[in-house]
Symmetry: D2
Subunit: 291 residues, 4 copies
């Protein structure tokens, strides 16, 4: 289990998401509120896009804990992003703490993060890999279930990378969940899997909240949408509401509410995806898997 957040909107300092909110992602790296085990100290990663350079993300990852990393602190204080992925990792038992296993994973223009676990992953890993086109088979650098799920997602995309739209991305993500369900079931895995996946191509972001078990809640997931997310010099951060005159210019999707004002946050329903479009519309859609 881990914690992550995504941001889409007007240029925002990374520090306003990672450091300044009362329940910032850095706070969640050692004092997460919405999971039983508060520690996410097995590395971190951030990635964002600089569209006027090229369409691939700028990813910075480290196995060191996020809370004490001075490079991250300096970078976050000076870098503005319009599309950000950020993740703090709690390695699942048996998963090595190495740089190759730190999220977000990136390939071509895509980034991918996971909060959860593929139950019985070692029983299906070979089958999963066997299903992959060479390109995605060879892309895998580490040993996590999360990165393998990313390869599966890419493998599920039906159209060339350049033409992906929200529908297509969502389809490939839901297909990823479906395949993982099929294979773990076939392997006789009976423990629950948790599939909060986040994927973006720098324009569209899709995030899922899903648990495989009947009646089991998915890991926590919330979003906040407004005309601006702001941290005041006083230290207070909040999302300014959309008004008649001011349209949405900021959408955050996060494992935990970053601020204490409950009015800022809406919980993503269990067994749903949330899609954030380039115009900052969001869409909540049920994950309809056949039994």
């Amino acid at each position: 289990m881990c914690r992550f957040l995504t941001y889409t909107g007007a240029p925002l300092l990374l520090a306003d998401l990672l450091y300044r909110p009362s329940n910032s992602l850095i706070m969640q790296s050692y004092q997460a509120r919405e999971r039983a085990e508060p520690l996410n100290g097995d590395g971190f990663g951030v990635g964002w896009y600089v569209h006027d350079v090229d369409p691939t993300p700028c990813v910075q990852r480290s196995v060191s804990p996020a809370w004490s990393n001075s490079n991250l602190q300096n970078l976050a204080a000076k870098t503005r992003a319009t599309s950000l992925f950020a993740h703090v990792r709690a390695a699942s038992p048996g998963m090595a703490v190495t740089e190759a296993n730190v999220h977000p994973f990136a390939y071509d223009r895509f980034m991918w993060m996971h909060n959860g676990v593929v139950a019985g992953f070692h029983q299906i890993r070979r089958r999963l890999r066997d299903s992959l086109k060479d390109e995605f088979y060879n892309m895998i650098q580490g040993t996590t279930d999360s990165e393998h799920a990313f390869a599966l997602f890419l493998n599920n995309l039906r159209v060339p990378f350049g033409e992906v739209n929200g529908e297509e991305m969502r389809y490939a993500l839901v297909e990823t969940i479906a395949r993982l369900n099929d294979w773990t079931r076939a392997a006789g895995v009976t423990t629950d899997s948790f599939y909060n996946f986040a994927v973006t191509d720098g324009k569209i972001t899709v995030v899922s909240r899903y648990a495989s078990g009947e009646g089991i809640a998915g890991a926590s997931l919330h979003y906040s949408r407004g005309r601006r997310f702001e941290c005041l010099p006083s230290g207070l951060c909040d999302m300014h509401s959309v008004t008649e005159d001011a349209q949405a210019q900021a959408v955050i999707v996060a494992s935990e509410r970053l601020t204490d004002d409950p009015a800022d946050w809406i919980t993503v329903p269990d067994n749903h995806t949330i899609t954030v479009f380039p115009d900052l519309r969001v869409s909540l859609d049920k994950i309809g898997l056949e039994a």
Copy 2:
């Protein structure tokens, strides 16, 4: 605040202290029981002696969290020590997480660890350094209060390094506390300092439990003494009692009880030092400082 332990006795696998007990030092690195903040994830260090090679310790330190370090895990599973220091760090606010700041600190044949904080350290640092002989002034590599206290300890030794005995080591340690008290008081520092210091020359170990404030308890400190400390294949670890036929061959001094059997552990009284002698006698002595 941090957590530490020392071991003196018959050769013992490091893993039997660091990994196998129910409240091992590794457990304390992320789930410490006897301090409010359970996390000690800002690096770790271990040091032990190989007396038939030379009298200086073999120290291994890292800024990475102890719980995920595979080098430490491998080393602990294969290395036996007769005299061990081990430490997991929780950096005080403002103290950088760098290798030079990780305990134990070593110089010549001595090792030093600290669990606590010198309140208002920045106000007395220059004065402290000015009091040092060049040798110990130049020895300092990092920026911690703990390492500066070590330099002060070495500076307080009245006899050449080769001839130190328990009395002398205890004297220098108590003097260190006295000087820190003098200087912080003179600087008008009113918050409490915590001076659980551990020092060894590979033969004798002295550990203090001390808080500067009137009526304030020092950080937790316990010891266990018996004929052998053992971890069974079942996973249960405990200290075997001394009997008429079997003398003490193991002494542990630790911030927290490593095992769940309360009979294994005696709490070091506040404002005391504990000295462990080469024959494994221990002595508890009041820290008598003049007001």
Copy 3:
């Protein structure tokens, strides 16, 4: 000895200085051309300014070799700077390879780098520290001669940080060299010191080329000034000349020529400083020290 470069001018991708030139700083990290020992593998650092956020630099440093650091590679591919410092380190014997010892050093709005060595540093360190105001005494985090020289530079500034101009910065840098000369001479140090220092406040950059010994050449130092530094898709990088119609918009000062075209580069004369002004004028000035 190390290798460094500074850039001032129109926004430029870091990769165009660090990775793409035939003798890029990354090449210099393992195959430096203008020093006997080609290896500068003891860490690296880069720092740049984001003036619309605040006047302090964004510094990223690591003890890992520059040539294999994927965070640096990703960042350089996506980040543009108008004022950049970059450094690859070859630790002097006895100087620890720790993060606190990696250049550039930063304080308030200043950055500092050093290519060279203060001969007999350990003999003058205490005297140097004793000369410092508390602010700069307490600023020092590591153990290098280079960082101590930075503290001395800051201590030599006669005016508040906000009002520094090129004259003042150059004065403080030359004073730094003068004091180091005084102290090493007084300590009886007879080996040569090398003082290629670079300092900036984000607007003005001053770099020195200086060796303390009579008739000894300072470490290599060159600069390139033109209307634009460009790396073509073909891989060829060069500095476009200033013309009647196009003023200088790029100045590089570097330990080594980054490109193979000798017309791009002018060698900074020994025993001189080069100052780069905000309007991209440069000034070469003799370092006039009294014997």
Copy 4:
């Protein structure tokens, strides 16, 4: 390409192989003599056996360069081994510098190192993996050709791990080379592969010197055998000759001669394996592959 060494014999301080010889492995990490590119700075690893604890090796690995690693320096100064593997890495282009890619690789009681490259590895990786039993398929943690070759070696062992002898180990190693040759040839790879592999189970060591190309020499490989390898306080290290009264108690196999005395070293012939037996006999055997 990389550099490695193996030691078998009477207990020897690691420092006597890694640090003290004039061409020690640490020297080879930045100034290798017998390969065109002198730098092997992409991490290091050492592994040795503590047979009275258990039959698996104690491995310590790091992505940091060997020359500046203080943990390695401290450990080498205090640890004696009777069976040692040590490796300094020069990552092949495109191979990530991550801990999982550092040699020696270990599994059960085996260690494995490689100096060389599997040409066109990416073209045969999937085929190689497909040939593996699940146990060895799942063992792979990193992305190197070297670790995949190790998995192939383990897969080639015809008998349970506990009963391996020198013949069997040599067979599995030669089979590994044969399979790699088959697959790269089938994939149309025309560049040369270099297969200096070293493997041990803690008792027997087998090392190959092999290049796939007709008339191409394998990477350098030497061995030294005598009654004792010793480093004198003067700094001089050498191998004492076997005499009538004193049998061999030390065998080193190394990519480069560690000492300057040519009488100490015998070059392993191209296209051969060298096997070191528990009684310190060595056997040189031609690698007879069918075309």
